[in-house]
């Protein structure tokens, strides 16, 4: 995973609530067995069917920060949704509410999710609609979103923040505690389920 410290870019206003992972990337793109190259599936139905969809507008084509309505990323656990956003050039998604699995997957894939109160999302929407070229900075070190003369703080749990800042791989961190895992396994009751041997 790439480290995330601070990012400055332009932002696209996605004024929709309940953007589910089937909209972020439809199931047909999930048949691939690679971890990259999902940008062609990103919001593909809206990009194809809605000429005025925000990412079809030239002023937002190069946005790297997505500002979405509440309950972003609901539905399936597909990490392909996070990969598609990264492949599509996004480093940050801002919303007032994220679905749990999507948010968790983001912390593994290196996509920063920022939760802001709905009023702050509204203000940011208004600013980037008034000036699509407005640079927006999301700083994970200071936990602040800055645009124009506005600075808004956000909160992220310190452990996740540290992992993202360092770009650390979870498996490697857990492998430091293999002794604890082995000790736990030695205490597990014999009647716990096992798939092998086949019965």
């Amino acid at each position: 995973m790439d480290a995330f410290t601070t990012h400055t870019g332009t932002a696209a206003p996605l004024r929709r609530s309940n953007v589910d992972t089937d909209q972020i990337i439809p199931a047909e793109y999930l048949k691939r067995i690679t971890r990259t190259g999902f940008e062609d599936g990103l919001f593909v139905a809206w990009r194809r069917n809605e000429p005025d969809f925000v990412l079809n507008q030239p002023q937002y084509v190069n946005a790297s920060i997505l500002v979405a309505g509440p309950d972003f990323g609901t539905g399936s656990s597909r990490e392909h949704a996070n990969w598609a956003l990264l492949d599509g050039g996004f480093r940050v998604v801002i919303s007032s509410r994220f679905a749990d699995i999507f948010r968790n997957n983001s912390t593994k894939a290196g996509l920063l999710t920022v939760v802001l109160p709905e009023a702050d999302v509204e203000a940011l929407w208004a600013a980037i609609e008034a000036d699509p070229a407005l640079p927006v900075t999301v700083d994970l070190q200071t936990e602040q979103v800055t645009y124009g003369s506005t600075t808004v703080p956000f909160v992220i749990d310190p452990y996740t923040r540290w992992r993202l800042l360092e770009g650390l791989d979870d498996v490697g961190l857990t492998e430091r505690h293999l002794d604890d895992i082995t000790a736990f396994e030695s205490r597990r009751p014999a009647w716990k389920p096992a798939s092998l041997p086949v019965r």
């Binding site: 929709r16 609530s17 439809p26 597909r78 699995i101 894939a109 505690h177 895992i181 798939s195 092998l196």
Partner: protein
């Protein structure tokens, strides 16, 4: 202060707890399918890692599999490559696989319970959001992404934080024709698609206790549609009776020891929930969705809502967009909506009891001439059981299609898809735009409403059939 059921299960699995870090949680059972695993296995290979506990891991092929002609190679080369990758990966890492054609194959959330692998008090994960299904047994079960699949394969653990606790209490008796599916659609309509975010839901109350295991699985399955990663129900005699004698259930003295422990898995009287929701079972009717998220549902006697009447701006906009996509007009009675296709199946409603309910309504009758009905059992075992009971004949005689097992039209990764503009009544779990095929329009319903709808070609409650003398 006492603990909730979910807290008890969680605490029993904490491998390591340190201030300022997530807990390391042990995973008892890891279920794997072809879609969310190939990149995880690639990650293991790239890092030179092995699978720590192949004996606590089980794989099957479900999302991509065709439901016709299942013994031939998959025609779609991309789907075939993904299934082939799972076969190679499970072979290389020593993981048990139930492939197409195997008697244990089926939707991952149907085969875990039927094999007896899903047990009370366990932690269960899968790269699939409907892993919450297994909570019906009093397991803490939740969906994970592919990075976490790799983490569990390598370490049999996951870094986790304790969730907030929510109770949904359903007391009273469900009216005839009202099922578990209607209960959970009503719950989601009540609390919204984000209502359970950050929470584990415990379903309790006399109406929940009266449910069969199949019905409990339907309820826990859709916890994710209410925003909760996990939902669970305290194990009881119904749970133990379902499990006893299944291939991987404990036997002999192990069974007694397990039941003794499972019987302690109940929320303490003095436990505190962060949020409590109460529903009166007697007040429920069959529910159907009218929109493009599972929270946009209403009793079948209602009409398509008028977005102008919705106060919340986000919800109003969502409703406007939903009606446009669904091709519906505000004020139209839901019962007047014509349906092209009825889909009976999925991890929500593809178990034997679901098929029995639908078959009972279809017996001796014919599916509406303008309507296609697809019946897709959740697993090979469900299919064989249904055939042993003669249900397949009932469906075929009524004019429905009887198919092989898999996820099928729930998400249309195989050839079972809606055409653009086509409208379905579906017993699955998501009515998202394009979910069942590009431009397809989905109404979520119970198996009984699905069968009644198939007979009339319009959204129909089972009770309507009696009134109409159909």
């Amino acid at each position: 202060m006492g603990q909730t059921l979910a807290q008890k299960v969680y605490e029993e699995h904490v491998v390591r707890r340190t201030e300022g870090e997530p807990d390391l949680l042990y995973i008892d059972l890891h279920l794997v399918h072809e879609v969310t695993s190939p990149q995880a296995f690639d990650g293991l290979r790239a890092a030179g890692r092995s699978v720590r506990r192949p004996d606590l891991t089980m794989a099957t092929e479900d999302h991509n599999v065709p439901t016709l002609d299942i013994l031939s190679p998959i025609a779609d080369p991309v789907s075939r490559a993904q299934v082939d990758a799972l076969r190679r990966n499970t072979g290389e890492f020593g993981i048990r696989l139930a492939p197409m054609g195997d008697r244990d194959q089926g939707i991952v959330h149907v085969i875990g319970p039927q094999l007896g692998l899903t047990q009370p008090g366990t932690t269960i994960v899968c790269g699939d959001s409907h892993t919450s299904t297994h909570g019906a047994f009093g397991a803490l079960a939740f969906g994970i992404g592919t990075s976490e699949v790799e983490h569990v394969l390598a370490t049999q653990t996951l870094p986790q934080y304790p969730a907030k606790q929510m109770s949904v209490t359903v007391d009273g008796e469900l009216p005839p024709g009202v099922s578990a599916k209607d209960v959970i659609l009503a719950v989601i309509a009540e609390i919204g698609t984000g209502g359970g975010q950050g929470h584990v839901i415990e379903y309790r109350g006399s109406a929940i206790e009266a449910l069969s295991m199949e019905a409990r699985m339907t309820i826990c399955n859709m916890s994710i549609e209410a925003g909760a990663r996990a939902g669970l129900i305290a194990p009881d005699r119904t749970t133990f009776d379902y499990l006893v004698g299944r291939p991987h259930a404990p036997q002999g003295a192990d069974w007694d020891a397990a039941v003794a422990h499972w019987s302690t898995l109940r929320t303490d009287d003095d436990a505190v929930f962060d949020r409590e929701v109460r529903i009166d079972a007697a007040s429920l009717t069959p529910y159907v969705t009218w929109g493009t998220n599972p929270g946009q549902g209403l009793p079948i006697g209602a009409a398509v809502p008028d977005p102008a009447q919705i106060v919340d701006e986000n919800e109003r906009k969502a409703a406007e967009q939903a009606l446009e996509y669904m091709g519906l007009t505000a004020g139209t009675p839901l019962r007047e909506i014509d349906v092209d296709t009825v889909f009976l199946g999925s991890c929500t409603n593809g178990r034997i009891e679901d098929l029995r309910v639908a078959a009972a309504l279809l017996e001796g009758k014919k599916v509406d001439a303008g309507t296609r009905m697809l019946v897709v059992p959740g697993s090979v075992a469900v299919k064989l059981q249904a055939e042993a009971e003669g249900l397949d004949r009932v469906f075929v005689d009524a004019g429905a299609e009887w198919r092989g097992a898999g996820c099928s039209m729930c998400l249309g990764m195989n050839p079972d898809q809606l055409a653009p503009g086509e409208r379905s009544a579906s017993t699955s779990n998501r009515n998202f735009q394009g979910r069942q095929g590009k431009g397809g329009r989905t109404h979520l319903v119970s198996p009984a409403v699905a069968a009644a709808t198939a007979l009339t070609g319009k959204l129909t409650a089972p009770a309507d059939l009696e009134t109409a003398g159909a």
